[in-house]
């Protein structure tokens, strides 16, 4: 007879682990199917570093308070209203209650890292980062007797109507009484990205130049299976959390260290050596998430962040050395950009910088006058050699396209709720985060929905047992 698990969890990142642990704690037998080998387990969670949490007063590593309303307003602002208030408020409230549980399973928190003090009030940092969190959850899962299979990418799902029956991975078939899908988005599926982004007016396929900051295993196979099975879908496939990262970053798993943090301290030019957006619009942590898309819209999907020596030591050190030159012209030559245009761009900018008092910690009064686009803060002339340039490309962190779910994490087919299929993590984050991003909110959504989905799946499995018993009796 085929073995049947109470709960099958598809995926191996934070949401999957939260679901598996919660279901196991509720007494279910649990099978976790992670597509990656052991070394790469944890999906995008291995690259995360903190959890955005609501709190009404100081809590160990969290200072002051971050009340529900403020969290909600932040979410409303970044998503531009593309959110579901009921689900969002549930995530926010639960985010204040999950840390004790996480600690019980071995996760440890620490005060914010140097260079990340701006989120000291709102975000609890994982000691050692996301991979340490993932390791702790896996250890706990093993200790509790969760069955874990690596290198088992699910490529098909069996249904009976809207009821989940089994998953398939190649020749293997795993039956479960309930199932949680927590296997991420589709950002590492190059074909799908191409399809979603299409061809631009220059005849380019922009997504061909995208780098993936996270796991290479988020190919969206299960998402596609679900779409074909008629599941209700939410989100725009061309929307993703997309930041500007060093163009030399690896194609996958570049993670945090490939970010370029000096945009607001200099100017950014495109392949034609001209500026295209206000580099000093707002504090960098509030703006870094728009620059991926801005660069994606430029020719060749590449741009160059240019600073002078005044900026050195004022931003987080980049992982790769910048291109260094004694003059702007030489810098243009080294970058392969048009020397004359570059010199004019910088000269025009330098001339437009109005006198002011530079202060990187406030929205200061150093701004340009009379050029387009303006630089509205921290505009200092680039005049202190040597000059440095960092080539940047769009780096996709995650996609928003996902499964529509309700406040029970249930999956729907044509408006009909599945009795035993749930979704959590990046695959359902679009319900709360239709677009935009704010640090640590992905982990809040994954943790809350992961635990919820695990608990609901355990209940669904028990119900099925009760139902079967009833029939037998």
């Amino acid at each position: 007879m085929t073995k049947q698990w109470d709960v099958i969890v598809v995926g191996g990142g934070n949401a999957a682990l939260c679901a598996a642990l919660t279901a196991r704690e509720a007494g279910s037998t649990v099978l976790m199917l992670e597509s990656s080998p052991f070394e790469w387990r944890g999906g995008n969670s291995q690259h995360t570093r903190n959890l955005r949490c609501m709190h009404d007063g100081p809590q160990d590593v969290l200072i002051d308070s971050y009340p529900e309303e403020e969290f909600w307003q932040d979410l409303l602002k970044v998503t531009g209203g593309l959110t579901d208030e009921k689900l969002a408020r549930m995530v926010i409230q639960e985010s204040s209650r999950c840390r004790g549980w996480m600690q019980k399973h071995g996760v440890r928190f620490q005060p914010p890292l140097s260079g990340a003090l701006h989120v000291a009030r709102t975000n609890a940092f994982f000691m050692g980062g996301g991979k340490a969190l993932v390791n702790a959850f896996y250890r706990s899962a093993e200790n509790l007797g969760v069955d874990i299979l690596y290198e088992t990418p699910v490529d098909d799902i069996e249904f009976d109507g809207s009821r989940f029956v089994a998953v398939r991975s190649g020749e293997k078939r795993f039956e479960g009484k309930a199932c949680v899908l927590a296997c991420g988005g589709f950002e590492s599926n190059r074909e799908w990205l191409r399809e979603a982004w299409g061809q631009n007016e220059r005849g380019e396929w922009p997504s061909d130049n995208f780098l993936i900051r996270g796991t290479r295993f988020n190919t969206g196979t299960v998402l596609k299976v679900m779409m074909q099975a008629g599941a209700d879908i939410i989100g725009d496939p061309s929307q993703s959390h997309c930041v500007a990262i060093d163009a030399r970053a690896p194609l996958y798993d570049g993670g945090i260290c490939t970010r370029i943090d000096c945009v607001s301290l200099g100017v950014v030019v495109n392949r034609d050596a001209v500026r295209f957006y206000d580099e000093g619009e707002d504090f960098w942590p509030k703006r870094y998430a728009i620059w991926g898309r801005l660069v994606a819209l430029q020719p060749g999907q590449i741009a160059y962040s240019i600073i002078d020596s005044k900026a050195i030591g004022r931003f987080m050190p980049p992982v790769f050395e910048g291109t260094k030159a004694q003059t702007i012209g030489e810098l243009a030559d080294k970058l392969g950009l048009d020397r004359a245009v570059m010199e004019k761009t910088v000269a025009d900018y330098n001339q437009a910088c109005a006198p002011g008092t530079f202060d990187h910690t406030i929205l200061d009064d150093c701004r340009t006058e009379g050029i387009e686009p303006a630089k509205t803060h921290w505009a200092l002339p680039l005049d202190k050699a040597p000059f440095y340039a960092y080539a940047v490309r769009p780096g996709i962190t995650f996609t928003y396209l996902g499964l529509k779910t309700d406040d029970k994490a249930s999956v729907f087919f044509g408006g009909e709720r599945s009795p035993n299929l749930y979704a959590a993590g990046e695959i359902n984050a679009g319900n709360v985060l239709g677009k935009g991003y704010t640090a640590g909110v992905g982990m809040s959504i994954g943790t809350v929905f992961g635990r919820l989905a695990g608990a609901q799946a355990a209940i669904a499995a028990q119900k099925q047992d009760a139902g079967v018993d009833h029939v037998v009796a």
Partner: protein, 385 residues
């Protein structure tokens, strides 16, 4: 101190030397880590790293390497660890540079090469060599097998002979270590230690603070699980060793100040200290040896396992033979047991400055520098707006 100045003069040129291959690797890795910083909470290496923007200074790299306790936490937590193409392995790269520190600061310099070879074989060969010599000496005197002497060691080897032999070798060994350490200290130019800095560093050394993982759960051995095993075994080893040292010191005071000659009774202070210390020095090294054999392959530098194990094994045998001598000191085998014990002790003393023993000194110096440095203002205001 003027002679010490002469001895440490060569240190000044050290900065001009190009980075070694291993130092370049630490430099490459620290550049990646400094752009990530997720591990900042684990130990002192990462906060020390964040006070720097570039890693092209030999002294800095050797300081950071010796600050690293090889706990393994940052390796298991690393999103850039192998098989990632960045191939970040902080503990391993640091371990390789640490060995270079020991070698480049060894005194006399040519003996630094011994670190390469100071493995289990050399340690035991030295011990057996000395033992053989002592046994042959006893045989030639006809005193190898004897009537029970009630533990009177001096009947076998005269007290003054032992003092001269072991005292001089031990003093030379300590001198060699101190010279290397002073050179290292000058090169890392840490500034003057304040009392709180010294207090903190001492505490960090004596508690093995940075084997606690930063969260108090301990460090890693076979895998990503945290345990206190390494810390506990190291404590047993270190404090066991210190108790044995205390036993010898007390005995020296008894002998020279109070005029009480050995052997001392089982309830005397030197014997109690030596016995308790000796037991610690059995369990501790045995545990460390076991852990060393079971460490995750990516931890540390595999080529140093032999150095680690040679040192651990010597400590174990020094203790085991010492305890055996105590138990059977009233029998005819005392001379033989004494020869064996002294052989191991002599081997330990001889190899001391060029063995894993050095790690404690350089580590302590690095920890003191960290305690000084962290109290100095940090001039970097990295975009934490």
């Amino acid at each position: 101190m003027s002679s010490l100045d002469t001895l440490t003069e060569q240190a000044i040129n050290w900065h001009d030397k190009p980075l070694s291959k291993n130092e370049k690797e630490v430099s490459r890795i620290m550049t990646i880590c400094n752009a990530c910083r997720y591990c900042e909470g684990f130990c002192a290496v990462f906060p020390a790293m964040t006070r720097r923007l570039s890693f092209d200074n030999k002294a800095d790299l050797n300081y950071l390497a010796n600050l690293c306790h090889n706990c393994g936490a940052c390796l298991h937590a690393c999103q850039y660890a192998p098989p990632h193409e960045f191939g970040v392995n902080v503990p391993q790269s640091m371990a390789k540079v640490r060995k270079e520190t020991y070698i480049s600061y060894a005194w006399p310099a040519p003996l630094g090469r011994l670190y390469e070879r100071n493995g289990l074989t050399l340690s035991l060969a030295t011990a057996f060599g000395v033992i053989l010599f002592l046994i042959l000496a006893l045989i030639s005197q006809g005193t190898l097998w004897h009537e029970p002497l009630a533990g009177d060691f001096y009947a076998v080897f005269p007290h003054n002979t032992m003092v001269v032999m072991f005292g001089s070798v031990f003093s030379l060994a300590i001198l060699a270590i101190v010279i290397g350490l002073v050179k290292f200290w000058r090169d890392t130019s840490p500034g003057r230690p304040s009392t709180p800095a010294m207090f903190e560093a001492t505490q960090n050394v004596l508690q093995l603070k940075y084997l606690d993982g930063g969260h108090g759960l301990g460090c890693n051995d076979e895998d990503d699980r945290f345990t206190h095993r390494r810390r506990v075994f190291h404590h047993l080893t270190f404090y066991g060793f210190m108790l044995c040292l205390a036993a010898t010191s007390v005995a020296t005071i008894y002998h020279y100040v109070l005029g009480w000659e050995a052997p001392y009774g089982y309830t005397s202070l030197p014997v109690i200290l030596g016995t308790v210390g000796g037991i610690g020095l059995l369990i501790g090294p045995a545990g460390l040896f076991w852990l060393n054999k079971h460490r995750a392959p990516l931890h540390g530098d595999p080529s140093q396992q032999t150095m680690d194990r040679g040192f651990i094994a010597l400590l174990f045998w020094v203790s085991l033979t010492g305890l055996a001598l105590l138990v059977w000191r009233d029998t005819s085998a005392m001379a033989l047991l004494l020869a064996i014990h002294l052989g191991f002790v002599m081997a330990f003393f001889l190899t001391m400055p060029y063995s894993k023993f050095a790690h404690g000194f350089y580590r302590s110096a690095a920890l003191l520098k960290w305690s000084i440095e962290k109290r100095q203002p940090n001039n970097l205001g990295l975009g934490s707006e």
